[in-house]
């Protein structure tokens, strides 16, 4: 992976390549049942609000192999932007170099932004921005370990919404998000990277279970219309369960 010599970092050789391994024997064949999880199961969520001391609000979320830390700074004066009657929500995502199977250059790349845009879409309508003219809420998300883009978007949205609540920013409702992919005839919830690669299509739904409103749908791949709508319902139902996990975590952190 050739990269420009960045004098602000310790640089390694000009270009280096990930090790290529001999063939992996265990291949999952279509039609087999899902490994170590039933289709409608999602991975257990560990959610810890308030782990970053200097942030206004923060949250750390871990679902098996996806580990994401999120911090909220603001609302604070938005610099060098024109007057805006509504507050601005600024979401920035950064992958750590060791977060994926193939090392990621520390430089910003397209994928960071596509996840940031997906999370921004999930959250923007849940925050009461009209109360914060001329100010900006910064949400910084660092993905420590990633197990598929869908998982990052879903868990990232949940972590960001928890961090906003932890920061005491006025929200219309907590946002929770869940992913689903269509594998053969079945719908598998909360797919890992490998499962998502096998799937024909994946859907990531973000919603506010308290108001039964959907704030974002992010569908990729080829699915029949009926399948996509079935995924949407399954995800929305699971989001209600995740919602109780988030509420519980916030209450506990408020007690300490």
């Amino acid at each position: 992976m050739a990269f420009a010599l960045d004098r602000r970092r310790i640089n390694g050789p000009e270009d280096s390549f990930p090790p290529s391994f001999d063939l992996d024997a265990s291949q999952w064949k279509l039609g087999d049942p899902r490994k170590d999880r039933s289709p409608a199961d999602i991975r257990s969520i560990f959610l810890q609000p308030g782990l970053i001391s200097q942030a206004n609000g923060s949250a750390y979320i871990e679902t098996a192999k996806t580990k994401i830390a999120c911090a909220v700074y603001g609302p604070r004066q938005s610099k060098n932007t024109t007057y805006s009657e509504m507050g601005r929500l600024n979401v920035e995502v950064k992958f750590t170099p060791f977060s994926c199977v193939r090392r990621r250059a520390p430089m910003r790349d397209a994928e960071d932004r596509s996840i940031a845009v997906a999370i921004h879409q999930a959250l923007v309508s849940s925050v009461r921005l009209e109360l914060l003219p001329k100010s900006t809420i910064d949400i910084f998300i660092t993905i420590i370990e990633s197990d598929g883009l869908e998982g990052c978007v879903a868990s990232g949205s949940v972590a960001a919404s928890t961090a906003l609540a932890d920061a005491g920013i006025e929200l219309l409702g907590l946002v929770t998000s869940c992913a689903a992919s269509v594998v053969g005839k079945e719908i598998w919830l909360d797919p890992t990277e490998e499962e998502a690669r096998l799937a024909k299509g994946t859907v990531v739904v973000a919603c506010m279970p308290a108001l039964q409103k959907i704030t974002s749908i992010w569908q990729a791949g080829e699915t029949k219309v009926a399948e996509a709508l079935a995924c949407m319902d399954a995800c929305q139902e699971k989001c209600t369960e995740i919602h109780s996990v988030v509420a519980q975590a916030l209450l506990e952190s408020a007690k300490i």
Binding site: I10, L51, I52, K67, T96, F98, S99, C100, D138, F140
Partner: protein
């Protein structure tokens, strides 16, 4: 802490700290020479070849090692690469902005690079002389910035390197490609495990392991790096020492560091 105390801390940090130091105690309740407790757990990140999560009090650092293969430099055909970097993202503290590494991150990376250079023999990273060598990317990311990041980062990097395994790689002369075996792997040969102990001098008092609140108020910072045989690896002092007459600041720091190193030795897996 009551609201008024917090406001006082924000408005007059120096006076606030002076009040505490006068009572021989620090804002977080520690005596001057006390260290925040350290917790290290390794191997938690599956996508990295070696990883470590270190908490030094509130300061939290995650470090991951990724190995790649590259052609060695022409003038060093028998040497691999060790590339340590630390990233202080905007997430860990309000004083950092998103974008390229800040000055503090660059300084820390350089200091870490100097210390780590002596910990691994680069010749042990050769797969095939002048054709293919291992490149160890040691990337540390600070999750929560509460002062003394250099100590925490060094512990994290050493723990991650000790946790790293290199798969057995064979270089195919015709195709020029290296294939690694999925099963056979061997740990890295670590020559030594240095640990750093940082101190700060504030109004002629020596504070061990300064927090993010104390750091900007320090007149002098001292960092002593000691390895497992209690030999000094590096000593850095920036700013004037305390002429309290009895013993020079630097030597007090060194002896404190050595005694602390003995206690801490077992904690790094």
């Amino acid at each position: 802490m009551g609201d008024s105390a917090k406001i006082f801390q924000r408005l007059h940090p120096r006076a606030y700290l002076e009040r505490f130091v006068a009572e021989d105690v620090r804002p977080d309740g520690r005596p001057f020479d006390a260290w925040r407790d350290v917790s290290v757990n390794v191997g938690s990140i599956s996508t990295a070849n070696g990883s470590a999560l270190v908490r030094l009090g509130e300061t939290t650092i995650v470090c991951g090692v990724k190995i790649e293969i590259a052609e060695p430099e022409l003038d060093a055909p028998e040497e691999g690469f060790l590339v340590p970097n630390i990233d202080l993202p905007a997430l860990c503290s309000p004083k950092f902005k998103p974008g390229p590494p800040s000055d503090e991150a660059q300084v820390l990376s350089d200091r870490l690079n100097e210390v780590l250079a002596s910990t691994i023999s680069l010749s042990s990273l050769v797969i095939h002389p002048s054709k293919a060598v291992w490149v160890l990317y040691v990337d540390a990311t600070c999750i929560n910035y509460d002062g003394n990041v250099f100590d925490a980062a060094l512990i994290a990097m050493m723990a991650a390197l000790r946790n790293t395994t290199l798969p057995k790689a064979t270089y195919n002369v015709e195709t020029g490609l290296t294939t690694c075996s999925r099963t056979a792997a061997s740990p890295l040969q670590i020559l030594k495990t240095p640990i750093s102990f940082s101190f700060g001098v504030f109004d002629a008092t020596l504070l061990a392991d300064p927090t993010a609140f104390e750091e900007p108020l320090l007149d002098t910072t001292v960092s002593v790096v000691v390895d497992e045989n209690n030999n000094l690896v590096s000593v850095v002092q920036s700013g004037p020492g305390v002429d309290s007459g009895a013993e020079d600041t630097l030597s007090t720091c060194i002896s404190a560091a050595k005694s602390r190193r003995v206690l801490l030795g077992g904690q790094i897996p």
